[in-house]
């Protein structure tokens, strides 16, 4: 195996419990987004677009779909491959990943096998377009030992985040986890570039510390700060969403729409790659009415769709109305049904004439998981 400058470790074991039924059967990084993608396509495409050739993907929760989707990683041009890294057993036993840092600690062998100069730790469940190569340049220029990607957030929201206080050179002086009185509005995005040896040494120390919760934000960063290490910020001002809740999943999906979308899938210089099956082009029936929608291949629209995401292989029946909604791949809205302000899970069916969701802005979004049938209430 040739020596790599930058190796990516992608944390993809998260359950995403606040997505409720959307993550009942699949890990959050495997949740479908944007008509044909899965959330993990975004960090993987960022890796590809940043020239990274090998990614270790740490999986744990409901991994089957994620594993089969990743395959060898060739869909993202990963020439040295995507290595799927679930928890495993050794002579002294085995354990689930106990925290973000622990997941990487348990795979130090993979890092040492690749012997990179730097390691980038990524979250597999956030949506953004980011050039990790540029972040690495900043890391090197600062002669940093750890660089943390940060995003300015509105001051009034700042106390909901892990915040980094930095001096004018970007050097981090303090870390505040969800502080009542924020000293900074730079929120950590959970994206870290470490000098490899520092990462290995620190994770070994952390592993041996019985008081640690084995978390990058909670344990590793505070310790490195206390040790006086060179920690720097990398300021990111582009589009970034965590889609951790049903509401944010829905809102972020809607940000793909409009004539000048906040999140533009058509941005030329940074393609999003994915691993999808071949479907014929989308079919629009003789009476179809479609306005302001994203429409995936293989879908069939006989009815009306307004301001919605119509994912690959989904169907909107005759006389059906889909508005301000997200149909995930293979979802079927049968004739005369109405889906409004809602998310329909993969391969789920809204039966004929059913009203799913409501135009009433005070009501919560309607949503259902994958492979369910929503009939008329008895």
């Amino acid at each position: 195996m040739s020596k790599k400058e930058l190796l990516a470790m992608l944390l993809a074991g998260g359950q995403g419990s606040r997505l409720y039924d959307l993550t009942k059967d699949v890990a959050k990084p495997a949740v479908s987004f944007g008509g044909k993608y899965r959330i993990i396509d975004f960090p993987l495409s960022n890796c590809a677009n940043s020239g990274i050739t090998a990614v270790g993907v740490l999986t744990q929760y409901r991994p089957y779909l994620l594993h089969s989707y990743l395959g060898t990683g060739s869909a993202w041009n990963m020439e040295d491959g995507v290595a799927i890294l679930p928890p495993y057993a050794t002579q002294t036993g085995g354990a689930w990943y106990a925290g973000t840092a622990d997941a990487v600690t348990q795979n130090l062998g993979y890092i040492e096998m690749n012997d990179p100069e730097y390691v980038i730790i990524l979250s597999g469940d956030a949506l953004c377009r980011m050039d990790y190569a540029d972040m690495l340049e900043t890391h090197k220029k600062n002669n940093a030992e750890l660089t943390i990607a940060v995003m300015p957030v509105p001051w009034e929201d700042a106390s909901r985040f892990g915040l980094l206080v930095a001096d004018e050179t970007g050097r981090i002086t303090e870390f505040q986890e969800k502080p009542p009185v924020p000293k900074s509005n730079l929120a950590s995005m959970g994206i870290y570039i470490f000098n490899k040896q520092l990462l290995v040494d620190e994770l070994r120390l952390d592993d041996a510390n019985p008081d640690s919760s084995h978390d990058f934000g909670g344990d590793i960063i505070p310790k490195l700060l206390a040790d006086g290490r060179r920690l720097f910020t990398y300021k990111f001002e582009g589009f970034w969403r965590d889609v951790g809740t049903i509401a944010s999943f829905h809102e972020t999906s809607m940000e793909l729409l409009g004539d000048e979308p906040a999140f533009d899938l058509f941005q030329k210089d940074f393609p999003i790659m994915s691993n999808t099956l071949s479907y014929p082009p989308a079919y629009f029936g003789p009476d179809a009415q479609v306005d302001d929608c994203i429409v995936g291949n293989g879908s069939k629209i006989y009815g009306e769709a307004v301001h919605s995401i119509i994912s690959i292989d989904s169907v909107i029946g005759k006389g059906a109305v889909v508005k301000d909604a997200v149909l995930l791949p293979g979802a079927i809205v049968k004739d005369g049904a109405k889906v409004i302000n809602a998310i329909v899970g993969e391969n789920s069916i809204i039966e004929e004439g059913v009203d799913f969701g409501s135009a009433d802005a005070d009501k919560d979004y309607a949503f259902c998981g994958n492979n369910v049938v929503i009939g008329k209430e008895e």
């Binding site: 869909a75 899938l265 994915s274 014929p280 082009p281 989308a282 179809a288 929608c293 429409v295 690959i312």
Partner: protein
């Protein structure tokens, strides 16, 4: 199950050349927005379990190789077997109508000799259908025929299609061109590998002929039987049949049969889903990935990445990959080949009887 290998002959030209085939081999004409003609033959072969597949190339093979690549989309990148790109003679494309040129088969004998399979399925690449070839292999093995050809009653007059003369269930001759009701040859047949090697040896001195022409007068010696395919099948050798077959794809029953029962694989691209902007009107149409539509599209097929600006109108047309239809442009009864920019306010209009072609930009 019997072991079967495949051989696709792509080294032929069409009788009625048009702008569509000036710039590319017939086997790689784009179809239904995102496919190319060859996808159907390739997928049918792979779907029946074939994993060793030869492809005899025309001289202008660039777009074909670009599309098929190493055969990855058809599971043909393998350690054993896989896709074999085979040379075709320059003679192939200069002689219209010949689809199984003996010279090409003889020159590539080594592909057949090096394998140990029982049967070979040979096919051209310009018929659109989705068929389980296992059925025809089983029928072939059971009947004791030397060659089993796949056929269908012709639905239209078509001078590009080969017709078969039949007596007592056996093929007795061929003719070029069919009319309604004739037995049309779907350009696909099954033969025992050893038998094929034997037959092509007989004609080593007449290698300028098509295999089925060479067999003329010897159909008593070579038992050629038919297997009728009763699903949807459309030839796409010329402009008119090409346009008609594309428009057939606006019938969901046909596309269900073609794409849902067994997959038709094609080269994957990282296309975005299609985006319909505010004010777009799209009805009775098929829209491929990466299209961005703000205007009106009816009764049409759009290839990948087509941009239709506000107030542009497209009706009864095929717009291929990468075209930009500017505001106020109007396109009707037309095929617009790749990468054309139809500027604001211009009209491209054919008639239903005479479809206009705008060649590749």
């Amino acid at each position: 199950m019997a072991k079967v290998i495949g051989l696709i002959t792509a080294n032929y030209s069409t009788k009625f050349p048009s702008a569509l085939t000036d710039s590319r081999p017939a086997a790689s004409v784009p179809f239904l927005g995102r496919y190319r003609a060859v996808d159907f033959a390739l997928s049918n072969m792979v779907n029946c379990g074939i994993r060793t597949l030869g492809m005899i190339m025309p001289y202008n093979y660039r777009s074909l190789i670009d599309h098929v690549g190493s055969g990855r989309e058809w599971e043909l990148t393998r350690k054993s077997g896989g896709l074999f790109i085979l040379p075709g003679s320059a003679f192939g494309t200069s002689r219209t109508g010949s689809r199984f040129l003996l010279r090409d088969l003889i020159h590539n004998k080594i592909f057949l000799e090096r394998d140990s399979s029982d049967y070979v399925i040979l096919s051209t690449a310009n018929w659109v259908y989705n068929m389980d070839y296992n059925e025809v292999v089983a029928a072939h093995a059971a009947s004791g025929a030397d060659i089993t050809v796949i056929t269908q009653a012709a639905r239209d007059k078509d001078l590009d299609v080969v017709g078969l003369e039949i007596a007592d269930g056996r093929v007795t001759g061929i003719k070029h061109g069919v009319v309604f009701g004739d037995t049309a040859f779907l350009d696909c047949f099954v033969v025992a590998r050893e038998k094929l090697l034997e037959i092509i040896d007989w004609y080593a001195n007449n290698d300028y002929l098509d295999l089925f022409e060479a067999l003329a007068g010897e159909y008593d010696r070579v038992n050629v039987q038919t297997f009728e395919f009763d699903g949807y099948a459309a030839p796409i050798f010329n402009k008119d049949t090409y346009f008609k077959a594309n428009m057939d794809m606006l019938d969901p029953k046909i596309t269900h049969e073609l794409f849902s029962i067994r997959p038709i694989m094609t080269k994957a691209h990282d296309n975005q889903p299609a985006k319909l902007n505010t004010g777009a009107k799209v009805a009775n149409s098929r829209i491929s990935g990466s299209c961005r539509i703000s205007g009106t599209v009816t009764n049409s097929i759009l290839g990948r990445g087509v941009i239709v600006e506000k107030d542009a109108v497209i009706n009864n047309a095929i717009i291929m990959q990468g075209c930009v239809i500017e505001s106020g442009a109007c396109i009707e009864n037309a095929i617009v080949d790749r990468n054309n920019k139809v500027s604001a306010g211009t009209e491209l209009r054919g008639t239903e009887a005479s479809i206009l072609i705008k060649d590749k930009a």
